[in-house]
């Protein structure tokens, strides 16, 4: 024991003269750090996808309906409700939040005597910390999700424009798994898909490599999976939650990834479709996606189905309106052949009204499903449009699909901005023409798929937006035609609608082409329905307005497809067919009164 050891401890007194460590007012003076993981906040961007709930290891989050939320596409109407008897403030919910709406405040104090009080819905309940500006947010360089889409192999623009080979080559198995892995399986897309396909479930089968299970899921709602895997308008992808911070999941391509890996010979065995005849017959008018979809689901229920088709082959607009570089014939046939293999009777070259009267069908069958589509090109409604060098987009596509040369010439103007316009333009490119596409509004307003727009540009089509056709004149050469068009300015709509193009009279142009392809839309034709029935059916703008289960006022008649909906795409027609099949089944089994 040394003297130093005895004295040394008294050093402690030196500290007595230092400033005290004590926080004077700890509660007020010590807010959480700027990054503090305090209580939850949620902003208006939340769409209620429930990914926060999926990742929460404590089951601290419930997705609950919230009153008074505005109904938006891709918004489930649910919001996360937190249980602060469970939450551990790990903030994984913040990290995984697909819209980045969820974050934490730096507020941390909640003391109460009621153990049942620790629940609140973030963002909608008024909590004391809702105005806090500090708190944990995900760092921009830190991700728990994969935001970039796996690009699909495609033909180069030079290769694709040289022929009618399919442009998109499909995912390899590895690519498909990687892309499927990005899905958070929230299911927000299901409501937006017109056919309400089980999207997260079939994406999961891709991830697991179980394509047979995937095929079964696809056929639950869509017997045109090979087709839709290629040309679907994929409304689902517009609401995909992954799109808020990166690319939406390539849902359409993943559907294709399933069907491309299952040969058609194995469909029957995998799907287990056994038909037990129930003795009732249903007639289907139109062998497009709507009609054939109805035929499939009706046949599966045991109905004897006869399909009446005006053309020589089935497929409708899919065959005659979609070029084969987007949808090869054999892929369409894969879908159609399977439906026919269940024993659907096809009557080709049979136009109702011309070859067989409507009333006869009504008498012969227990119910009728009508999906004749829109096949009358809309008129441009400008002077000179009956010029022989003004062709319709549909006719051009039809000719190409039937192996005929539409004779577009070397210089072509396409009028329109929809998929038919894009297809007509790209087909013309493949036939060797220089193509200008005139469209009234801006490129971002075009109703065509963004991919189609992008690809048509890559293939060398010139897009001329804000161009309003005014007049068509004879050209000096009788094999040519001249168009007069004027530039348009976009004018904001006072009523809150989308901006309107207004013709600028002082900026007119005149161009001469070998032909003009008009592709501004199509209309329907319903003359074949006898007048005595028409009074009982509701129409609007020459289109059917179906009731529940696609039924019309004429009880036995169900309608669907482009002629009965406003969306006018394949997937909507497919759902119409499926839904009508449900309706017909209910009708014929007495569950649905007329």
């Amino acid at each position: 024991m040394s003297l130093k050891d005895l004295i040394s401890p008294f050093y402690v007194w030196q500290r007595a003269f230092e400033k005290p460590y004590t926080q004077k007012r700890p509660i007020e003076d010590r807010p959480g750090a700027p990054r503090y993981r305090g209580f939850h906040m949620n902003s208006e961007e939340c769409i209620g996808c429930g990914t926060c709930e999926s990742i929460c290891q404590n089951h601290a989050i419930d997705m609950v309906p919230v009153e008074g939320l505005e109904q938006r596409a891709g918004d489930s109407g649910l919001r996360p409700r937190f249980d602060y008897g469970r939450c551990c403030w790990c903030a994984l919910c913040v990290d995984i939040c697909t819209t980045r709406s969820l974050h934490l405040s730096n507020h941390y104090a909640w003391v109460t005597e009621d153990p049942d009080a620790f629940h609140f819905t973030a963002g909608t309940d008024a909590m004391p910390w809702n105005q806090n500006s500090l708190g944990y947010r995900r760092d921009d360089d830190y991700h728990l999700l994969v935001h970039d889409r796996v690009e699909m192999q495609a033909l180069s623009a030079e290769e694709s424009v040289a022929g009618f080979d399919e442009v998109m080559r499909g995912y390899t198995e590895e690519e498909a798994v990687l892309e499927a892995d990005r899905c958070v399986e929230c299911g927000i897309c299901v409501a937006t898909c017109p056919a309400h396909m089980a999207i997260p479930d079939y994406i999961r089968t891709v991830r697991k490599g179980d394509y047979e299970a995937g095929l079964r899921l696809l056929y639950e709602t869509n017997p045109f999976s090979s087709t839709c895997g290629r040309i679907c308008t994929h409304r689902c992808e517009t609401v995909c939650v992954m799109g808020y911070q990166g690319d939406p999941i390539a849902i359409r391509w993943l559907k294709r990834a399933i069907v491309d890996r299952v040969p058609q010979e194995k469909y029957r065995e995998i799907l287990g479709d056994e038909v037990e005849e129930n003795g009732k017959t249903v007639g289907v008018i139109g062998a497009g996606p709507g009609g054939m979809s109805a035929a499939y689901y009706l046949r599966r229920q045991g109905y004897a189905v006869t399909v009446y088709e005006a053309q020589a082959r089935a497929g409708g607009m899919l065959r005659y309106g979609v070029p084969s570089y987007r949808l090869p014939d054999n892929q369409l046939d894969k879908d159609l052949e399977y439906i026919r293999s269940l024993g659907v009777e096809m009557r080709f070259n049979t136009q109702v009204g011309r070859d067989i009267p409507f009333t006869q069908l009504l008498d012969e069958h227990d119910a009728l499903f009508l999906a004749v589509g829109l096949n009358q090109p809309s008129a441009l409604r400008i002077a000179g449009e009956e010029h022989p060098r003004v062709l319709s987009g549909l006719r051009v596509l039809d000719d190409v699909a039937s192996g005929k040369d539409p004779g577009v010439g070397k210089r072509v103007a396409v009028i329109g901005g929809g998929n038919v316009a894009m297809d007509a333009a790209r087909v013309s490119r493949r036939l060797g023409a220089e193509v200008d596409v005139l469209y009234r509004r801006r490129i971002e307003d075009m109703p065509a798929d963004p991919e189609e727009i992008r690809e048509s540009q890559a293939e060398g089509c010139t897009l001329v937006p804000q161009a309003i056709p005014v007049e068509i004149r004879n050209a000096s050469d009788s094999n040519q035609v001249t168009i007069v068009w004027g530039e348009a300015e976009m004018v904001a709509d006072d009523k809150g609608g989308r901006p309107r193009p207004v013709l600028q009279e002082d900026r007119m142009h005149e161009e001469t082409y070998d032909c003009i392809i008009a592709a501004i839309g199509q209309g329907g034709q319903i003359d074949f329905i006898p007048a005595e029935f028409r009074d009982r059916i509701e129409f609007k703008w020459n289109k059917f307005v179906p009731g529940d289960y696609q039924q019309t006022g004429l009880e036995k008649l169900f309608v669907g497809g482009d002629i009965a909906n406003s969306r006018a795409d394949a997937i909507s027609a497919i759902e119409d067919g499926h839904h009508a099949a449900r309706g017909i089944h209910r009708f014929l089994s007495g569950a649905l009164d007329g």
Partner: protein
């Protein structure tokens, strides 16, 4: 559980062995009666609220933030709070987060040994609804099924600042005469005991630890 058993007479103490039974009391606890004069009771409550002695029993991970609370930086002593090593001297039992079944047994014994008036404060999420360990086979989910709780402080971990806020809230409750957990325990004694014995399978202690 046979509810009547307690209500009718002395505590059965049937978890104890025959020779141990003599060592423990079988008298039922009695609820606290407030002073008949309201002003006196109010004064007594004020006194109680300003001298909260915590039992130094770190039952779970919440104990880790009690160290800063009781040392120089946050210095809860200035609020009349101090740690006591024995239940006999303590008035506040802090349940530091999750309680395992094995610890619950010790918590009950310690709590019952505390002299009234006594208060229970639960820290963290686990005693509220299971928290992090909501699916664990060894931790309780709802602590209020086993002992009466006067105050909950959520968080994981609740910071020392919140603990101080909790102390202030508890003081307020005591001053208002609403911190009656101990009485609730006695008034619903059968219910609490039944819940305790439902999870503590080897009950080998007296039914009330005087």
């Amino acid at each position: 559980m046979d509810m009547q058993k307690y209500a009718l007479g002395p505590l059965p103490n049937d978890g104890l062995s025959a020779e141990d039974r003599d060592l423990f009391s079988d008298a039922r606890p009695v609820p606290y009666e407030p002073y008949p004069v309201a002003v006196v009771e109010k004064f007594v409550n004020w006194v109680r609220a300003n001298s909260l002695w915590l039992l130094a029993f770190g039952t779970g991970c919440g104990a880790i933030e009690l160290n800063p609370l009781m040392t120089a930086r946050f210095d809860a002593y200035r609020m009349g709070v101090q740690m006591r090593p024995t239940p006999r001297q303590s008035s506040v039992f802090i349940i530091g987060g999750y309680a395992s079944v094995k610890t619950l047994k010790r918590i009950i014994r310690s709590y019952e040994q505390m002299q009234g008036p006594k208060f229970v404060v639960c820290l963290g999420i686990c005693p509220i609804n299971g928290g992090m360990y909501w699916d664990s086979y060894n931790t309780l989910n709802k602590f209020d099924e086993y002992l009466p709780v006067d105050l909950y402080i959520t968080g994981c971990m609740p910071r020392p600042e919140v603990l101080m806020a909790g102390v202030l809230e508890l003081k307020k409750k005591i001053k208002e005469g609403r911190a009656d957990g101990a009485n609730r325990y006695i008034e619903n004694f059968e219910w609490y005991k039944a819940n305790q014995k439902r999870v503590i399978k080897d009950w080998n202690m007296p039914d009330y630890n005087w």
